[in-house]
Each structure stands twice: as structure tokens, then as C-alpha cells.
């Protein structure tokens, strides 16, 4: 019979491999300085989001100043050059739900986080919002669908895609998420917080500050935010991409060793218990 002590020791031993990797993950990051664009102030803090092994998302604050009496919107997104392949689910024979087809969405951003100081409808009419690419309707008007269906189908499928992205926190529109405040010198200060979930892909994203007045809206300032990997996470990711065969063999060897060593240790434990 196994003693509780030997059982605990075996479990501890099995954890050692992952604990070593976890310990190696703590690598110092280069500190990122807030970035100020030329012209009007648009502060993105931090301007670089760094994913390490213990990264679980990051809150990014966008702040600055806009003219008095204006409303503001902040949009963080990428250019959306690629295509997203989707499966369409529908009813078959009126009873069964299954994949009934495929569709490609072209020119949709991977990330679309927007915050506004008031309701979208208060910022401007549909033409203004479309011109400044604010809101899901504006995103849809910039996207293509292949094969192209009817306008109703396109809208329905696009909004289903939005639901999918919202569930993964990669799309969000926060009406009222931009906070406006008059400072002592009479400037209209704004700030908005955005949560970057851990599954935001590595890359560079545009940060746009849009301001709105009675006569319409305008792109007031822009900046960039970068998501990258560092430390052990970056090393593993690059090894997987660039040296696939070596990486695969290494993964198999570690798995084999872990399996056999654990088997051996459990075997010793069993014999020790008799």
C-alpha cells in the first residue's frame, strides 16, 4: 500500500517539469513609456502590451484633451486585411442543427474596441458614423462576403460574427465608456479604459480619437498600440514557427520522458509500499 507521504512526493515530482518552465518565465520587461502623438495629446498607456507566460490580459488607458463642448469616441482596431472563414449553422430537414455551408468574411478587423462619451446615435447620423468607421454597421459596410448572399443574409451573418467576436471579447462597443472632465485650465480632458483580452493576436493596432460637434465628426488624433510576446513565451512561439520538426521532436521527447518517469516512480512507490 502507498503511504500518504510517498503519494505526495510522487505528485510533487510530476509537477516539477511544469514548475521549472513557469519559473523560467519570469524575465524582466523593457519598461514602456507612454506615447504622445504630435499635435493634440493622445496618451496610450501602455503603448506596448507584452504577453509573457503569466499574461492574462491588460487594461489600456487612452487619455488626452479635446476641444470644449465636443463629444469623443476612441476606437482601437486593426486594418482587417485578411479573410475569416466561417461555418454557417442551420436546420436540416427542419429538425437537426448542423453546418450547412461556409462563408468568407473579407476585410474585417481582428480587434475592434470602441468607447464613446455618449450614445452612438447622439454622435452623428449613420453617414457620419460610417465615414469615421464607428459601429458595427460601419464595419459591415467596409467588409465583403464570399459567396455574396442577399443583403439580409449578409447583415444576419455579419451580426452573428459580431456576437462570436464579442463573446471572445475581441469586439466591444462601450457607449458612455469615454469619461469627459473639465480641468482647472478649462480644457476638456477625456479618458477611456480598454481591456485587451489574452487572445488578442500579436500585432500593431490603430488608436483613433474622434471628436464630434454640431457640424459633424472628425479624426482628431491617432496613435498605435502594439501587442507582442516576450521571454519564454516569445521563444516557444518562434521555435514552433521556425523550427517545427525540432520543436515537434522535443515536445514528443518531453512527453515520453514525463510519461515513462512517472510510470517508473509510481512503480517504485508501489514496490516500496509492499
Amino acid at each position: 500500500m502507498d503511504t500518504p507521504k510517498s503519494s505526495g512526493a510522487r505528485v510533487t515530482f510530476a509537477m516539477i517539469t511544469s514548475a521549472l518552465v513557469v519559473a523560467l518565465a519570469v524575465v524582466a520587461a523593457p519598461s514602456a513609456m507612454p506615447q504622445i502623438t504630435s499635435g493634440e495629446q493622445l496618451l496610450v498607456d501602455p503603448p506596448v502590451v507584452t504577453a509573457r507566460l503569466f499574461y492574462h490580459g491588460q487594461t489600456v488607458r487612452v487619455s488626452g484633451a479635446i476641444p470644449s463642448g465636443h463629444e469623443a469616441a476612441v476606437v482601437i482596431s486593426d486594418q482587417g486585411h485578411g479573410a475569416v472563414a466561417l461555418k454557417i449553422k442551420g436546420r436540416i430537414w427542419g429538425v437537426l442543427w448542423a453546418n450547412t455551408g461556409e462563408v468568407n468574411l473579407i476585410s474585417v478587423p481582428t480587434l475592434y474596441l470602441a468607447a464613446t462619451s455618449t450614445d452612438l446615435s447622439n454622435l452623428g447620423d449613420a453617414a457620419v458614423l460610417d465615414h469615421l468607421a464607428i459601429g458595427y454597421d460601419a464595419l459591415q459596410s467596409r467588409s465583403l462576403m464570399s459567396p455574396a448572399g442577399s443583403p439580409d443574409d449578409r447583415h444576419r451573418l455579419f451580426m452573428e460574427f459580431v456576437k462570436l467576436q464579442e463573446r471572445g471579447e475581441l469586439y466591444a462597443i462601450n457607449e458612455g465608456g469615454v469619461h469627459l472632465e473639465l480641468d482647472s485650465s478649462g480644457d476638456n480632458r477625456f479618458s477611456a479604459d480598454f481591456f485587451f483580452p489574452p487572445d488578442v493576436p500579436v500585432g500593431s493596432y490603430d488608436v483613433r480619437l474622434l471628436t464630434f460637434a454640431e457640424d459633424g465628426g472628425t479624426l482628431f488624433a491617432s496613435s498605435k498600440i502594439t501587442v507582442n510576446q516576450a521571454g519564454l513565451a516569445a521563444w516557444i512561439s518562434s521555435l514552433a514557427r521556425e523550427r517545427g520538426l525540432f520543436y515537434g521532436l522535443l515536445s514528443v521527447i518531453v512527453a515520453l520522458a514525463a510519461g515513462l518517469i512517472t510510470g517508473f516512480v509510481f512503480d517504485l512507490g508501489s514496490k516500496g509500499g509492499h
Binding site: 510522487r10 505528485v11 510530476a14 517539469t17 511544469s18 518552465v21 513557469v22 509573457r52 507566460l53 503569466f54 499574461y55 492574462h56 491588460q58 487594461t59 475569416v84 472563414a85 461555418k87 454557417i88 436540416i92 437537426l96 442543427w97 448542423a98 453546418n99 451573418l157 452573428e160 460574427f161 462570436l164 471579447e169 466591444a172 462597443i173 462601450n174 465608456g177 481591456f195 489574452p198 487572445d199 493576436p201 519564454l232 513565451a233 516569445a234 516557444i236 512561439s237 514552433a240 514557427r241 517545427g244 520538426l245 520543436y247 515537434g248 521532436l249 515536445s251 514528443v252 512527453a255 515520453l256 514525463a258 510519461g259 515513462l260 512517472t262 510510470g263 509510481f266 512503480d267 508501489s270
Partner: protein, 319 residues
């Protein structure tokens, strides 16, 4: 929109560099332990259970499949070691079925390509899955239940089995008979080769490792003892998953080593415990437990057909 990353509180999640997502470490250890336990106990790889669970917690489907294969290497190595030490692995039978399985897997890849070109392949695949799981699970369940209860129908079934069936007569006429001492059966080498091909084709079509198809085939068609079946199945799964892991890492770059490492930390321990529990149970008890798991998966898949999804699109590759 969530504006708080929760950085100040203790967070036991870890960032997966290939999956590009963060997942709770205790959750992964628990999943690994559970699937490893089932693997060690029943001789199944557990991919049919683990891959959907990983997708559910936000791992991209391609990364979930590839990394799961990597962790199954560890769990099946651990399980094979334990069963081999107990003399419960038929290496000769396993090697023949493995050769057939590799050929069948390659054939299955082309079959699935043809099915996809014909359209409605997904429905066909899922329907096959449900029918296979339902049929195999129900048969195993009722047969084992009868044996456990020692019912009259079971005795009659045994008596009927004592008479050579058409299947037994056909198998008996095949050439190149070999005695497999560990399984204590004498059959033609063509049988494990052919059944290996069949499992390989089905596994490739259904996108799973094939352990839960392999086990009933070895029990009912090769007449191997259940305890030897578990170890022998794990032995084959080990090599199949080594092949898949290396191929996925080389061709698709979708193996997430960090994910696999945490899963396998749980699964190797689970596999050892499962193997020991397996040794203490009767063959019929093992069969009925596996039948229940297979039937639960079958019902879950059936519900997926009948219940309307909350979102009517999904990323391609995500089922």
C-alpha cells in the same frame, strides 16, 4: 467591456504562446488528470473528450487537436508502462494493428476529402459518430450488464457464442494463423491488420485517435481479454500520437508545448491511478463503465444536433 485585468489578485492562469490565449492552470491540470485517468483505466486516448473541452475554454481548434495529441503521448506512455509491467500488453497484436491503423489513417484522409467534395460531409461524419457511439456503447452496456447480473439471456448468449458463428467460421478459414500468447488467441495475421485499417479509416474520418473504437473491436472481434485490450490499445495510441504530434508541429505549427506540458502533468498521474483502478476491476465492470462514458458522449453529440446554437456561425475548424 471589461476594464479591469484583475492584475492585483492572485491569478493562476498561464499564457499559451501558440494558442495566444490564457487559461487557468488548475483547470488544465484537472482536465489532464481526468482524461489521463480514463486513458489509464480504459485504454482510450481521451481525445474525443479533451479536444472539445479545450475548444470550449477558448483554445483554437487546430491547437487543441495538436496539443492534445502531444499530451496523449505522455499519458499513453505512462499507461503503457504500467500495463506492460503487469504483463497486460500484447505487443505482437498491437504492432500488427498499428501497421493497419497507419495505412487506414492515410486512406481515411482521402475518404474525408471525397466526402467533403460531395457536400454535407459534416452531417455525415457526425451522424456516423452518433451511430457508432450509440451502437457500440449500447451493445457493450447491455452485454456487460447481462454478464454482471448473470442473467438467463446472458447465459443463452454464451451458449450461442459457444457454437461457431458465421464470423467465427469466416475468420477460421483465413490463412497465416499465428498464436498471440499474451491474448491467448490464435488467428490469422490478416485480422489485426484489416481491423487496424478499419479503425484507422474511422479515426481519420471522425477526427479522433480511435481508442474507443479500437477497444470494442479488440474485445468483440479479436476476442482479446479486456485487461490486455486496455494495455495494447494504449501501446498503439502512443505511436499514433507521436506521429500526429511531429506532423502537426512540422506542417501546421499548432502544437502548444506549454498547454501540452500542463495537461500531461495531470494526465500522467491520472493514467497511473487509472491503470491501478483498472487492475482491481473485473473485465465486465470495465466494459460497462466505458459503455456509460461512450453513451454520455453520444447523447451530448445528439443534443448538439437537436438544440439550437446561440450563435449561428462558427470559425471554420471549430466544429
Amino acid at each position: 467591456m471589461r476594464a479591469d485585468a484583475g492584475g492585483s489578485q492572485l491569478d493562476l492562469s498561464i499564457y499559451l504562446p501558440v494558442a495566444e490565449n490564457a487559461v487557468s492552470i488548475p483547470l488544465l491540470l484537472g482536465l489532464g488528470g481526468l482524461v489521463g485517468f480514463l486513458s489509464g483505466m480504459f485504454g482510450v486516448g481521451g481525445g474525443f473528450l479533451m479536444t472539445p473541452l479545450l475548444i470550449m475554454i477558448g483554445i483554437p481548434p487546430t491547437v487543441a487537436c495538436a496539443s492534445d495529441s502531444n499530451q496523449i503521448v505522455a499519458a499513453s506512455a505512462s499507461g503503457t508502462y504500467a500495463h506492460a509491467k503487469a504483463g497486460m500488453v500484447d505487443f505482437k497484436m498491437g504492432t500488427l494493428m498499428l501497421i493497419g491503423g497507419i495505412a487506414g489513417g492515410t486512406l481515411g484522409v482521402y475518404v474525408i476529402k471525397i466526402l467533403r467534395a460531395m457536400g454535407q460531409a459534416d452531417l455525415l461524419i457526425h451522424a456516423t459518430y452518433v451511430l457508432m457511439l450509440g451502437g457500440v456503447g449500447s451493445y457493450m452496456f447491455f452485454e456487460s450488464l447481462g454478464d454482471l447480473r448473470g442473467t438467463r439471456s446472458s447465459r443463452l448468449s454464451k451458449e450461442r457464442d459457444a457454437r461457431p458463428s458465421i464470423y467465427a467460421r469466416l475468420v477460421g478459414h483465413l490463412p497465416w494463423k499465428v498464436h498471440f500468447s499474451r491474448s491467448n488467441v490464435t488467428i490469422s495475421v490478416l485480422m489485426p491488420l484489416f481491423l487496424g485499417v478499419l479503425v484507422g479509416v474511422l479515426a481519420a474520418i471522425m477526427g479522433v485517435g480511435g481508442g474507443f473504437i479500437m477497444v470494442p473491436i479488440m474485445v468483440y472481434l479479436l476476442r482479446m481479454p479486456m485487461h490486455v485490450v486496455v494495455g495494447t490499445s494504449l501501446f498503439q495510441i502512443l505511436f499514433t500520437c507521436i506521429n500526429v504530434t511531429v506532423l502537426q508541429a512540422t506542417v501546421n505549427h499548432t502544437v502548444d508545448f506549454v498547454l501540452a506540458l500542463i495537461l500531461l502533468t495531470g494526465s500522467v498521474v491520472g493514467a497511473q491511478i487509472g491503470a491501478r483502478v483498472s487492475e482491481r476491476l473485473k473485465g465486465d465492470q470495465l466494459k460497462i463503465l466505458l459503455a456509460i462514458i461512450v453513451l454520455v458522449v453520444c447523447v451530448q453529440m445528439l443534443l448538439g444536433f437537436l438544440v439550437a446554437p446561440d450563435i449561428l456561425v462558427g470559425f471554420k475548424g471549430g466544429g
